[in-house]
């Protein structure tokens, strides 16, 4: 390809030289390279389910996110209330969001390859999530059919996210266990976009959605 091929070799040789290895050894890979280091930190939370869900809601509220909790039966009505209260009419949603969750009185742009401009014109977005991490109030998106591609939860100024209580884990390591192996594409959201670049004053909403609303569905407790 381009001139970086000789540099590749030069850099790898320099690394090997500095570490006192020959190239062959690095290629084979030593045993120490593959052993996972000691993980004596907390890998499992201790809170009972209810308290864990409560912690998630608390942490989200600390990020200025709006949190509502409801039963599975109340979900469609709760969604409708949230959408109504937003004062917005035009919403984007990924294909995987069930039709029963989308009240007909709003203008829905379903993402079957929406153009960027079309997403930009919507006022809000509505998605599911892969899971919630209570300890840091984080919502993990793996961008499945119901979570939408990355742009969908970025351009609209208002984001409504549905999280089932059974999807909430207490600690970050539990999330990694839940993944069952590496995830190729993910976004972790901890509150609405924010900055503290001017005199460390926290300002909510810079480029991402300024408003994050989360409905926690009590399906487990």
């Amino acid at each position: 390809m381009r001139a970086s091929v000789p540099s590749r070799q030069a850099i790898l040789d320099r690394i090997a030289g500095a570490l006192g290895e020959t190239r062959d050894q690095t290629a084979v890979g030593s045993a120490k390279a593959d052993a996972s280091p000691a993980r004596n930190y907390i890998r499992r939370g201790t809170l009972p389910r209810g308290a864990c869900v409560e912690l998630m809601a608390d942490r989200l509220r600390q990020y200025d996110a709006e949190v509502v909790r409801c039963s599975p039966e109340q979900l469609p009505a709760t969604i409708a209330d949230q959408l109504e209260a937003s004062g917005k009419r035009v919403f984007a949603a990924p294909e995987g969001i069930p039709e029963s969750w989308r009240p007909g009185k709003f203008d829905w742009k379903i993402d079957r390859g929406l153009k960027t401009e079309e997403i930009e014109e919507t006022e809000g977005t509505f998605t599911a999530a892969f899971c919630g991490i209570a300890d840091s109030g984080t919502i993990a998106l793996h961008h499945s059919a119901a979570e939408g591609r990355r742009l969908l939860t970025l351009l609209p100024d208002w984001h409504l996210c549905i999280l089932k209580a059974s999807q909430i884990v207490e600690t970050l390591p539990e999330y990694f266990d839940l993944c069952k192996g590496p995830v190729p594409l993910a976004t972790y959201i901890s509150g609405p976009s924010a900055t503290a670049d001017i005199e460390m004053t926290r300002i909510k909403g810079v480029h991402g959605p300024r408003f994050l609303h989360v409905i926690i569905v009590n399906d487990a407790s």
Binding site: I11, S30, A33, I198, G208
Partner: protein, 486 residues
């Protein structure tokens, strides 16, 4: 309105003045010192609160340190693994031996793209290789999209911190810059209004500029993925909207496994901004059909890093995950701010990283820009023993000086040599004490202090008082006491 220290300080270690001289403008600028102290006080107190809350903080630090050490001890293997996986996922990996090669690779890629504009996510690595001036020279307009970087770019300022690069600029200074550059005469200095102005200014750029340049927080060897942590969403914009993404990353940024993120993400945000988690973390692998840039390049930059690997003492420098906790806690940084370090990497980590990047040919004064109090080591989430590296670099710097002929005439070295002679024998020391008492008597004031000394001695008394020698030394007193007892 007070002017900010010196708009363009020299952040090129090849040209920067030695630290004690470079620090003077900052020390004489009360506004700057107030801005810096305020910002780091806020971050520090937030960090302290969140670290206490984490019962397993020390275990997390140990794991983070072990993961980073393992990555560096097997760096070649992990880089090759990263390259293979990233390539398999549709990315293209380029290797740059130094800054000029990295700039050339990026410029060639932009030429292929026929790019006239790029949007950028904050990357200190791009500042290290002085990418922006090279892009502008080649006719490519650069739009920094991180709020702090935008403030610096529009105000023609240099970064003074690696996480909050514009912390030395206060709200009224930001207002002045934005009003001038964005043509918003009625802008107030309310941070909310200023942030909103930035949002509007950049929105069109995000939607229309087809090429983005980013740095990387982590490269995952196991999967070929890249992770970026951020707060504002400008990162996500640059990572999803453009057609082409170019990621510039130092070779040390690699982590062995996906699972290692469970440690790094827990320590990074808490250490950096005092948050449990930063608002947005993006993780992607090569190219995802139908989602985000369809052309993805990673430029792996050495630029002096591989030379730090040879000795474990020095190697630990590369464990750094750029959280800036060390500069936030450093009593020296607190007084001088970042520009005095003459590098895009200021503070304690900069004091050990920059001289090594320069292979000790420049920036040799930086290892001395520390009181060796050890606060940086204590807060470091990956347990870099910064004082240990500082001492090692100091000894290297002294050994360099030792070879210079001129040092023979340097009063400091002459003085040390004389001291060496005096301390060698008890009688000499005793004699020197007596002579000293007579000599200094003239300069000692009634309060027992020496406020001013002439000539070379003035170097000491310029900034501090010296206690005069007592009429009777301990040795004299002891000798007299022994005599009496008999």
């Amino acid at each position: 309105m007070s002017k900010i220290a010196s708009n363009r300080s020299v952040l090129d270690p090849r040209k920067a003045s030695p630290f004690p001289i470079a620090a003077l403008p900052a020390l004489r600028n009360p506004q700057l010192r107030k801005n810096v102290a305020h910002a780091i006080d806020v971050i520090q107190s937030k960090r302290a609160r969140l670290v206490v809350e984490k019962a397993d903080w020390q275990e997390l630090r140990s794991a983070a340190s072990a993961i980073r050490s393992q990555a560096l001890e097997n760096l070649g293997k992990y880089l090759e693994e990263f390259e293979a996986r990233c390539t398999a996922a549709g990315g293209k990996v380029h290797w740059a031996a130094d800054a000029s090669e990295a700039r050339k690779i990026i410029l060639d890629l932009l030429r292929e793209e026929k790019a006239t504009e790029v949007v950028k996510i904050k990357t200190m690595t791009s500042a290290e290789i002085q990418l922006n001036p090279a892009l502008e020279t080649a006719g490519v307009s650069v739009f920094e999209t991180d709020l702090a970087e935008l403030i610096l770019q529009l105000g023609d300022e240099d970064p003074s911190h690696i996480v909050v690069p514009a912390l030395h600029v206060n709200r009224s200074q930001v207002r002045e810059i934005f009003a001038r550059k964005m043509g918003l005469k009625n802008l107030s200095d309310d941070p909310k209004e200023l942030t909103n102005a930035a949002r509007n200014y950049l929105r069109r750029k995000f939607l229309t500029v087809p090429t983005a340049i980013s740095g990387a927080n982590f490269l995952i060897a196991e999967t070929g993925s890249v992770a970026i942590v951020e707060s504002e969403g400008n990162g996500r914009m640059c990572l999803t909207l453009p057609r082409t993404l170019i990621t510039l990353a130092g070779i040390e940024k690699v982590l062995p496994r996906f699972q290692d993120l469970e440690v790094m993400l827990q320590v990074l945000a808490r250490s950096a901004t005092g948050e449990r988690m930063n608002p947005y973390t993006s993780l992607w692998t090569g190219v995802t059909p139908g989602d985000g840039p369809q052309r993805f390049h990673v430029v792996l930059l050495d630029n002096g890093r591989s030379s730090m690997l040879a000795r474990p003492v020095m190697r630990q420098t590369l464990k750094c995950i750029r959280c800036a906790a060390c500069m936030n806690t450093c009593p020296v940084y607190r007084q001088t701010g970042g520009h005095a370090y003459g590098s895009v990497y200021p503070g304690p980590i900069g004091a050990i990283f920059t001289p090594q990047l320069m292979q000790m040919k420049h920036a040799q004064s930086l290892p001395f820009a520390s009181s060796l109090c050890g606060a940086c080591y204590e807060v470091c989430p990956v347990k870099i023993n910064i004082p240990e590296v500082l001492l090692e670099l100091r000894s290297q710097a002294v050994n360099q000086e030792r070879k210079q002929v001129l040092r023979v005439f340097d009063p400091l070295y002459l003085g040390l040599r004389v001291a060496n002679l005096l301390f060698a024998k008890a009688e000499r020391f005793h004699a020197a004490q007596r002579l000293g008492r007579i000599g200094l008597w003239f300069f000692t004031r009634k309060d027992g202090w020496i406020h001013a000394l002439p000539s070379v001695g003035a170097k000491w008394t310029q900034t501090r008082d010296l206690r005069g020698l007592p009429r009777q030394s301990f040795r004299d007193w002891w000798a007299a006491r022994e005599k009496e007892a008999k």
